[in-house]
Structure formats: structure tokens, C-alpha cells
Symmetry: D3
Subunit: 136 residues, 6 copies
Amino acid sequence: MKKISVIRKAHFNAAHRLHNPNWTDEKNKDVFGLCNNPNYHGHNYDLEVKVSGELDPETGYLIDMKLLKDIIKEKIELVFDHKNLNVEVPQFKNLNPTAENIAIVIYDILRKEIDEKYDIHIRLYETARNIVEYPY
Amino acid sequence: MKKISVIRKAHFNAAHRLHNPNWTDEKNKDVFGLCNNPNYHGHNYDLEVKVSGELDPETGYLIDMKLLKDIIKEKIELVFDHKNLNVEVPQFKNLNPTAENIAIVIYDILRKEIDEKYDIHIRLYETARNIVEYPY
Amino acid sequence: MKKISVIRKAHFNAAHRLHNPNWTDEKNKDVFGLCNNPNYHGHNYDLEVKVSGELDPETGYLIDMKLLKDIIKEKIELVFDHKNLNVEVPQFKNLNPTAENIAIVIYDILRKEIDEKYDIHIRLYETARNIVEYPY
Amino acid sequence: MKKISVIRKAHFNAAHRLHNPNWTDEKNKDVFGLCNNPNYHGHNYDLEVKVSGELDPETGYLIDMKLLKDIIKEKIELVFDHKNLNVEVPQFKNLNPTAENIAIVIYDILRKEIDEKYDIHIRLYETARNIVEYPY
Amino acid sequence: MKKISVIRKAHFNAAHRLHNPNWTDEKNKDVFGLCNNPNYHGHNYDLEVKVSGELDPETGYLIDMKLLKDIIKEKIELVFDHKNLNVEVPQFKNLNPTAENIAIVIYDILRKEIDEKYDIHIRLYETARNIVEYPY
Amino acid sequence: MKKISVIRKAHFNAAHRLHNPNWTDEKNKDVFGLCNNPNYHGHNYDLEVKVSGELDPETGYLIDMKLLKDIIKEKIELVFDHKNLNVEVPQFKNLNPTAENIAIVIYDILRKEIDEKYDIHIRLYETARNIVEYPY
């Protein structure tokens, strides 16, 4: 069987602030700088979801890209887009919405939605110059 | 004299919400949809500033691009980046921070900083698919 | 009133061939080269629709971008996407689907859908290196 | 010896349709949707060929990029560009030209042309949002 | 007759330094900074040539893009690519190779090669963030 | 512990020529072609530095991106930007500045600056179509 990967791109626009509630305000400002702004700032997040596994010889597909697109739309874009991540996305109630943690949360959500026979991998662009990949 | 244009790109990341305080909450939601989210959302704004005028034959420059870069950095990027536009940028206290109005505010700021002998023109990307140009 | 422009990006994937039925096969091959392939070839067309006019001070919008997006989706993307332009899009029954003519057809379609108080302008990418703009 | 990779980008424009001749028309339409259009549609395919191996200390090259460019031009671009993949590329006579299968066909062609001491890897963009990588 | 524009992209990689021989070394360093480095530095220049005029109804072309591509290849890319602009391109013997002047030189070369019935316009990217347009 | 990667993009513009001093001029011209031009040519190099390791649960960071950005700025951008690599960057006194060798030199410089607990990986774009990755 041939092992292959497909990648689907998506995006969402959201507000966030970086903050560790166990630290003083001073330490938060020191570590997170402008990203600690209590009034929030925001990003256009570009997301790439890579799915890997064995090619289905009957369809010539690894996975139906329309299905993958719909899963990402329903479980990620509709949940994160035009939201304040700290306030409105439950996973970040007690988790700092760094690009790293957003990528891990997205991975954890999609891992439950996509058949276990596939590996998945997340690439998240917070800006054109700052990117995160998970897992390693 | 040869008339020529130069364009300098810049960017900033900010939070905003669209809201007209003279309208009911219902009408705001109806007109601005997800963009009316009271908890804010955000964007990576990409900015292109075009400056037009007569070439200086001694330097071969229209304008010193380092100077233009520094003006944009000081007057726009430092003022808008990692900010909540509605709360922290005074021009939007009573002005809805649509992409159109942000472009006009940027134009008005830069118009005062750049010598009158030059024309200026703003292109602002709110997302990769939504762009504004001012003036017309 | 402030005159301003907004640009919305869209795309569609289509097959086409270049062919003038009034010419011999030889002349068609000579003029259109590989693009005359009778079995068709195809492109991912990227489309930019620019709309220009006076800013609405109440909304801070030139035009509701969701409305513009929906018009482009319904009148262009649904009609052109995953189609054979020569065979399935009526405007090209007797019109050669060059990038130039596709841009003009898109302009003519949208001109009827978008309020006359706005000017419109089309930018169409046939490839990353071949682009058309209409009107001039 | 230092192990390193180089990547060369190329592209081609082609028409295709997705279809499994062992299935009913109904099932084909159901599985492949718009991509099953019997009149074909098309794409600008962007191709990245990664070649990996040991650096040649005399040249400072892994492989001569002009050589790699010429192989890709002769064996892939001239064969696929401005073609109908289903009708004119023999490998797809009995193979569905999904992005996955196109990537595998390109890999198989290039594997014979590029010295065995190098590993090769294919990344194929069917659209800006749909990408395939082979091998896994 | 319908007036329309087409744009063709091209590129070349070249070395240059900015220097005015009528000035002292000190003034050159002061005005041109790092760009005055006597050992040269370089760029990947991206070029967009826009040609405007009346559509030919018989072909559906404004101008044959293959012809335009060949003119740009022969008159610009072969002359500028992998060259030291100051030393090897005659137009810059006594002209400072700023992005502005390179755009004007390209315009002047192409103006003689492209039929007068067409208008032409140059967009030159010196870097992703510094762009020049000529004419105004 | 969760293993994750972050990528930071940077760039520099430099001149170079490819040349092996142990070879005749003829062999150099034969192997390196236009890249052997004794007057140099140049590129806008785009650099991606990937850092991999274990997420710090207190910050939600793998590594402080501002720190990574500053290291790249000080150790790479300030050293390579607007320079003639052959003449002004000591590592290339006796090393041919191919894209492969530039990537290895950048890796070796950053390896000493970034904590050993992290893996690092370099992706260097010499042009939009020629890319190198190190290590393999």
C-alpha cells in the first residue's frame, strides 16, 4: 500500500492576549510584552492540516478532501473565527492562547474527528513570519 | 521631470469590533454580523503606502525608502500594532474601525508626515481576500 | 464624500481551449499554440473584483463585503467553477475564452448585479504570471 | 558527509476529470461531485521536487539545480502542461488523475531519471488550498 | 473597441551598489547607507510589465502573451539576469541603479520593442516590501 | 511533555559568485555557468529557522519568539545583509557560497547560539524556485 499525505488549508481571524494568571502583572508584561495587552490584539491565523495514511486504490484518494474541509470548517473555523480566544473558546479558559497551545488544541479537536488510521499534523501561521508545527 | 511611484509594505496586528453606537444592538448584529462580537476579534493588517512624485535625478530616488519606512513605523506600526483599535487608538473613539475607515485614518496621519509635493495612496489588506484602497 | 475602493478576491477552476471557428485548424494552431489543444487544458483562475464609490458614513462601509462576496459566489463561482468554459458557459459558445474575454464576461455579469452608483474593475489571474485587467 | 535537501519548483496547467470506470455514473457523481464533470475542468498545478543526499564538497552542490530543472522540464512539464490528463497522458488511461495519483506518477517518472543515491519527495498543489505529498 | 490591459511577470537576479560619483564617499555613505557597499549586494528583482490597448476581436487577445514573454526574456531577462548592474549593464555606467532608475531603464527598453498603439507600465519589486511603478 | 516546533522567517539581500579556486576558469564556467560571473550577482535570501523541543507549560511557549528573532537578527541578518558573501563574510573565504553552503553556515552559527535542548533546522530560499533544507 502506498503511504501518502494530503494538506488542507483553512483560516480564522481571532483576538487573544497572552497571560499567566499565576504570575504578577509585572512578570506577565515582562515575559509576554505587547502580547499581554489586557485589551487584546488579534491575528489572521492560517491553518494547514496534514493527514497521512494509505491511499485508497478505488478512489485514488487518501481521504475525501471535501470531508476534511467540512470537518475543519465545522470543528475549527466556526468555533474560532471572529472570536476572542481567551473569553469565548472554552479550551483557553485555563490555557494561555499562544500559537503553540492553539496548534495543540486544534490537533486535539481534529484527532477525535479524523479516523485513527490516519496520522495528523498541524501547521499554524500566527503571522507570515511566526509559525508553529505540532507534533514535532 | 519623470513622475514615478514607490510602494512600501508594512503590517500590524490588532483587535477590533464593528459597532455603530447610534444603532440598537439588534441592528448592529444585523449589519455587522460576526464582526460585531462585543469581545472583539482581530486581524494581521498588511499595509501598502504608495508615494508618487518627481524623481530626484541626483539620488535616483523618489523619496528615501528608509525615511518612508521609519515614518510608517513610528506613526502607524507603533501606534496600531498589538492594540485594540476601538479602545486604544483615539481616532476610533467615535469612528467605526472598518477597513475603509482604518485606511482613511492611516492616510490622514501620513498625509501630515509626508511632504505635500508627493501624492500618497493607501492599500490595506484586512485579510488575504478583503482589501481597501484610498483614495479612490 | 470620501471616494474609496474595496477589492474582494475569489477563484474558480475551469477547463478551456482557445479556438477561432472562422479559421483553419492550421491557423488556430499557429496563433494559439498549446492553448488550442482540442482536448482542453485548464487553470485555477484567481479573480479580484474592485468596487469604487462613496463611503457610507453610517456603516463605515463602501459596500457590505459579505453581499459582494455572495454576488461573486452566486453569479461567477457557481457558474464557472469546475466547468468547461467552451462547452458549459453560454457566453463562450461564440466567444473565444481568452483571459481577456473571460474578464470582460465577468465584468458584464457583475455590472448588472452591482448598483450603478459604484464603478467596478476586474483583475483576473490565468496563471501566477499572466494577468488581465478590465476596463483599461 | 553532510546530508542536505534541495527543492525545485515547477508548474503545469492541465485539464482532468475524476472517474472510476468500474462504478455507475451515479456513484461517480456521488463520490467525486463536481470533479466528475464529463466535460473536464482544470488546474494550475504547482510542483515541488525535493532531492536529498550528501553534499558534494567540491562543488558545494547537492545536485546541479540546472540539471534538476531540465529533468523536470523534459519529463514532467513538457508531458503534462496544456494537456488533458485523462486523454493524453498514458499513465492515466486506467488510473484516476486525483492529485494523489498525479503525485505518485510524477514520483515514479522522476525516480527513474534521478540517481538512486538521492532520495526524492514530491509536493503537488492542485489549488492553493489542496496539497499532496508523496511519499508519506 | 474595448480597452483592456494584460500583465506579464518576469524576474532576474542581479548585483548592484548605489553610488553618485559626483559626491564624496562620506556623502554617498550618508545618503545610501548599506546600499553604498563598494563590494556590491544583490536582489531577486520581480518585474511586472503591463500592456494596455484595444482588444483584437478576432483573437480575443490584447497582445500575444507568448510574444510579450519572449520580448521580456530577450530584452530584459537575458540582459539583466546574473549580472552586476553597475559594471555590466551599459545604461547604468553613468546612472545610479536605484529601483526607480531600473524601472525607467526597463520602460525605455520595452517602449522601443512594443508597438506604439499600446501603453506600457512597469512594476518592479526590489524586495517583497520595496516596489516601484513607472510611469506615475 | 509535548514536543513541538516553531518557525521564524527572516531575510537578507546579498551578492555572491560561485567559484572553486582549485579549478580552471574554464571548468568553473562550465560547472557554475552564469553563477560564476566574476562581477557577482545577487539574491534576496528568505530564511526559515525551525526550532523544535518540549513546550514550556508555564509560558505556553517552546521558546520566546522575540528572543529567536533577535538572535537571527544579530547573528545572521546583520552579518549577511547587504554584503558580498565571497568578500565580506569570513566563512566563505575558502567555501563556495552555494545555497547549500550558506544554509550549513547559518546552521553552524545558530547551533552555537540556541540552547542544545532544542533541535534546529534551516530552510533557505535563494529564489522563489530554488530552496535548500539542512539538515536532511
